[in-house]
Amino acid sequence: MATTRERIEPEQRNLVEMSWDPITRIVGNLGIYTKIDFDNREVVECKATSSLFRGYSVFMKGKDPRDAGFITSRICGICGDNHTVCSVYAQNMAYGIRMTPLAEHIFNLGEAAEYMFDHTIFQDNLVFVDFCEQMVKDTNPSVLAKAEQADAPHADVHGYRTIADIMRACNPFTGELYKESLVQSRITREMFCLMEGRHVHPSTLYPGGTGTVATPQVFTDYLSRLIHVADFVKEVVPLNDDLFDFFYEALPGYEEVGRRRVLLGCWGAFQDAQACDYRYEHMTDWGRKMKVTPGVVVDGELVTTDLVEINLGMRILLGSSYYDDWAGEEMFVPRDPLGNPVDRRHPWNQTTLPHPQKRDLQGGNYSWVMSPRWEAGRGEPPLALDTGGGAFARLYATALAGIVDEPFVKAPGDGTVQIHLPKTPGRAEQTLVWRIPQWSNAIERDRARAYFIAYGAAMAFGFVEKALAEVRKGQTKTFTDFEVPDEAIGCGFHEAVRGVLSHHLVIRDKKIANYHPYPPTPWNGSPTDSNGVLGPYEDAVKGTPIFEENGPESFRGVDIMRAVRSFDPCLPCGVHMYLGKGRTLKKVHQPMFGAVH
């Protein structure tokens, strides 16, 4: 909630500085600092800052490259496995490994379970608290009154008669949906553990494959849980539609909350077991065969689906971050294996030089996060792509590309993704259709998350079939041996739950000479870069209208928090938002669950 306020008057506007630091219900360490024009009900400025530095790129230097998957998992406490998988992809390229199809299926099943688990717990236990009865009562009592009268269109599916009933189900720790989602998030984590050993830092993944024992039992155990999870998914997707559609109706103009230009990146997920040989020279081809299509979307248009082009376009900028520049440092990879020049600001050529200093929000450095950008070659500074919280960019790129054609998921090229869930114990078979929406905003990022739970479940049905087919043929090899070369480079592209993930690796003397992971949060939560381009949180919050009914004195900032949380911030990967510095005029007591202070 707001901590400070101070009046300044540029262009005759009365601006109140307000900050939320730390942001709750996210993983990691984030502060948001804004200037709000209450007369015109608009956020005028926003700074995002992360106050945490741990130094993975630094302390991995000189270590055995095979350790990278184990170490980088520890970057993130909710999607650490995404890092291990991405690291394995990068190492496979560096070591020249092709994994067995069964190993690929096991990786894909583990990651599908991760998407289901993580999107469920984040949506229902963290995001929905911003939409729950207690919160709406406190921030928009008139909306709650409307919700009491609003019939839920899909009441027959999910059982909640009114929208207010849905909101009550979201109340933290006591609501039915809140409690049920915790239970479901455990079942999906059990499915994850069947494939990757432990959550959140997996035990059974190695470069070259997995130690998971591929018996019929392990896949049957997974499938037997999946069918019950699918029942739950079939109920929550329509519930999400009901809740979010209601917000558009109840608060005309709500589409502007968290809205920004459509600038999306998706690095692709779920390798094609037949196509992927991990050779950089073939990456364009096997990248396009991934079961979530990689792509960059600019103003609603698909600019590329080519992982080589995506790779070469990456730029890591400074501007507001606590690091020294590496312009004079070593260029590790001047050209890629295809002979293309690689930029000095590309992760392969980055040297991380931390420089702790005082936070300066008035035109100086204010974050431990750097500013990853993507050079589109369109005559504008490198673009601040966002991930839309992951699911949004994945569905968007996949829908536009129109390539995915799997037994349970299809992208026919008409701007939709069609997700088919077979008959399950409690529900008939069902096809859920996600359509490219009009806006890139908070509501659509949140809605996409629910659909991607279904996407993960549907893909998992397909992967289980394929894995069991291998086992039945007696092809149970899950690991391919290898030797670490003296010198090599590699890159891995994957989708962490909340968006793009890349790992760039340089090996010399069989040791890590350079290693740079770029998870989604540096993209989304980056500060303003050296070209003056705002980071996506900053950009999305700036210009957000205020719908909350409380005035400045009891303002809680729920619209701003909905905008920020829609990106699924995960700050161990690095972010902190800053809203300005001022004197405290008043402390405000707010109702809090389980607290009286």
Partner: protein, 362 residues
């Protein structure tokens, strides 16, 4: 290994008077990934919501203040009970849970490595270390969640820039909370979900006056959870006994020759699995990398090579069991020792060097 000795002074601790309400102030703003908080949401024995909702008979009423699970919107709303506790004005005693390793803030000039909220008067970030200094001495009990907080963990690896360390390295191993307790360490990277919740439940029963002092070993771990090794609980140990080893990760046999440190690592994961008996480490094909140990990660790297003692003991296995136990005792001591660069002196001794040219040959 047999259970370690209890920490000194164990017998002198007075039982709690029996609190009816208690706060849990949980900070994950150490050098962490928040993975321990996420992990405890996976616990089923008991579930976090059953503890918070008062469904466990005998426990005090629990007020949980954890950033990831907080219903507040953040900032002051979230920090209010932390500030109240720092002023000594909280309305009930509290358990202080620390997640993440503790950086050395004496080595970075005007900057900071990690903070939680701002100082209300100056607007400057309040470091985690400030919070620990304020809250740890006032807490009825202090619990370190995960290997980062207990011993330093991944972020305290050789070459780290932050000089970070475990909570006991920061507060001192002789630290005692307001309730007279040493730090309660629950290591694991992340914590095994049920291990943490079970420990917390004991501490809460103790707070309610219904349980005696929690039995901890000399590394301040609950004895009943960390008294045995991974190997002693592993269902692949029979292969070891027959000297029948896995030579790559396709094999379902004993993994000591391909990187498993199970014989010298104190952890119950092979007995307990990861979630309600399911998953785990070497029992399901994942080498033990020693993630619960004070010596983690450096003493276990490179993870995928056979531990030095592993080949010796597997060679001598058949002729001389007692000799192996003695040898393992020595290796276990090493694995239970933290590297010497984890300290709170105003200097960085981790071997930090951000440029490749100078790291070569590490």
């Amino acid at each position: 290994m047999e259970a370690g000795r209890a920490f000194p002074g164990y017998e002198e601790i007075q039982p709690a008077p029996g609190f009816e309400e208690i706060h849990i102030l949980w900070t994950s703003e150490g050098m962490s990934c928040d993975g321990d908080t996420v992990s405890i949401t996976a616990a089923q024995l008991p579930r976090i919501e059953d503890v918070v909702n008062g469904n466990i008979p005998g426990l005090p009423k629990v007020h949980l203040h954890n950033k990831v699970l907080s219903p507040t919107l953040g900032g002051d709303e979230f920090l209010a009970p932390f500030f109240a506790a720092a002023r000594g004005e909280l309305d009930a005693p509290f358990i202080f849970v620390v997640e993440g390793s503790i950086p050395n803030e004496q080595i970075n000039g005007d900057g900071y490595w990690t903070s939680m909220g701002n100082d209300p008067t100056t607007g400057e970030p309040l470091t985690l270390n400030w919070w620990i200094d304020q809250l740890a001495p006032k807490a009825w009990a202090v619990v370190a969640a995960g290997t980062c907080a207990t011993y330093g963990g991944i972020h305290a690896m050789a070459g780290n820039p932050t000089g970070c360390m475990g909570l006991a390295d920061y507060l001192g191993w002789e630290f005692r909370s307001a309730g007279g307790l040493p730090i309660v360490n629950v290591p694991g990277c992340p914590v095994q979900p049920d291990n943490f919740m079970e420990t917390l439940t004991w501490v809460l029963y103790q707070a309610a006056g219904l349980a005696p002092v929690i039995p901890l070993d000399e590394h301040l771990r609950p004895q009943w959870l960390f008294g045995k090794t991974v190997h002693e609980g592993c269902d692949r140990a029979a292969y070891y006994e027959q000297a029948d080893f896995a030579h790559d990760y396709n094999s379902p046999k004993c993994q000591v020759k391909i990187g498993c440190w199970g014989p010298v690592v104190n952890c119950n994961v092979t007995k307990r699995g990861w979630m309600d008996g399911l998953g785990g480490c070497p029992n399901v094909g994942g080498i033990c990398i020693g993630c619960t140990m004070p010596g983690f990660p450096d003493r276990f790297m490179p993870f995928m090579d056979a531990p030095p003692g592993g080949s010796l003991s597997s060679m001598l296995l058949r002729p001389y069991g007692p000799f192996i136990r003695a040898m393992r005792g020595i290796t276990n001591k090493g694995a239970n020792r933290e590297p010497r660069w984890r300290h709170n002196r105003p200097e960085l001794t981790s071997g930090y060097e951000p440029r490749w040219g100078n790291t070569r040959g590490n």
